[in-house]
Amino acid sequence: MDLKIDIGEKNGVVLLKLDGEVDVYTAPKLKSRLVDLVDQGKFKIVVDLEEVDFMDSSGLGVLVGGLKRVRSHDGAIALVCTQENILKIFRITGLVKVFPIFENQDQAVQSV
């Protein structure tokens, strides 16, 4: 059980590509990356969840925390996700209305 986080950039937008599982054990790693990015002045972020095998509310909490941080600097976070098992928890919790969710990175980068 691990979470790999690749960080890239496209058109001034930070791309966070997650690979693995996001739960109470690995979520602090994601939180740390998001906090570091905001501290570095990066306020436009796309989080790609396409390679995420599992995510629970620990991951949701970190993403919401990240969104609050970037919004305080007029920034934004968009998500890339087409996996039904991941989209389901965004629907159950109503977070589909909070996060813009796209089918690919290009659409997400354009949105922020």
């Binding site: 739960d23 109470v24 979520a27 599992f54 509310s57 620990s58 949701l60 909490g61 928890i89 977070l95």
Partner: protein, 132 residues
């Protein structure tokens, strides 16, 4: 025919993946569809997360009992007082853990029944049911 499996984990973050693995193995006992197995993994992960936050700093265990009987799956989870916090939406402890605030809605959305039942020894266990 009824099957019952029980196990105990330390209430620590690094053991939550082990619980999901155990749940994944249930599909060998009963041919659940993949969505059901994924839902059960998510529910168990949420429960573990809540109890780990509740027991932060205190050494404790989480006990699981899983029973499959015909078209009914019953999960009993016990971690002393942590179960009371889990089902109390007004709990200040629960509200403080921002990672946990979505947990109850996920658990109740994915399970057919969520209740506290007495274990006969003076405290309650959390019982979740799924009907097929």
């Amino acid at each position: 025919m009824s099957h019952k499996v029980s196990f105990v984990i330390p209430a620590k973050r690094e053991f939550v993946g082990l619980v999901r693995l155990a749940i994944g193995g249930l599909s060998q006992v009963k041919p659940f569809d993949i969505d059901t197995v994924e839902d059960l993994k998510l529910v168990m992960s949420e429960i573990c997360t809540s109890m780990i936050f509740k027991s932060a700093g205190e050494p404790s265990d989480i006990s699981f009992s899983i029973e499959i009987d015909g078209s009914e799956l019953t999960l009993d989870i016990d971690s002393a007082e942590a179960v009371n916090e889990l089902v109390s939406s007004t709990s200040s402890e629960w509200a403080k853990t921002n990672q946990g605030e979505y947990g109850p809605s996920i658990i109740t959305a994915l399970m057919d029944k969520v209740e506290l039942v007495s274990n006969g020894n003076g405290h309650s266990v959390l019982r979740l049911k799924k009907f097929f």
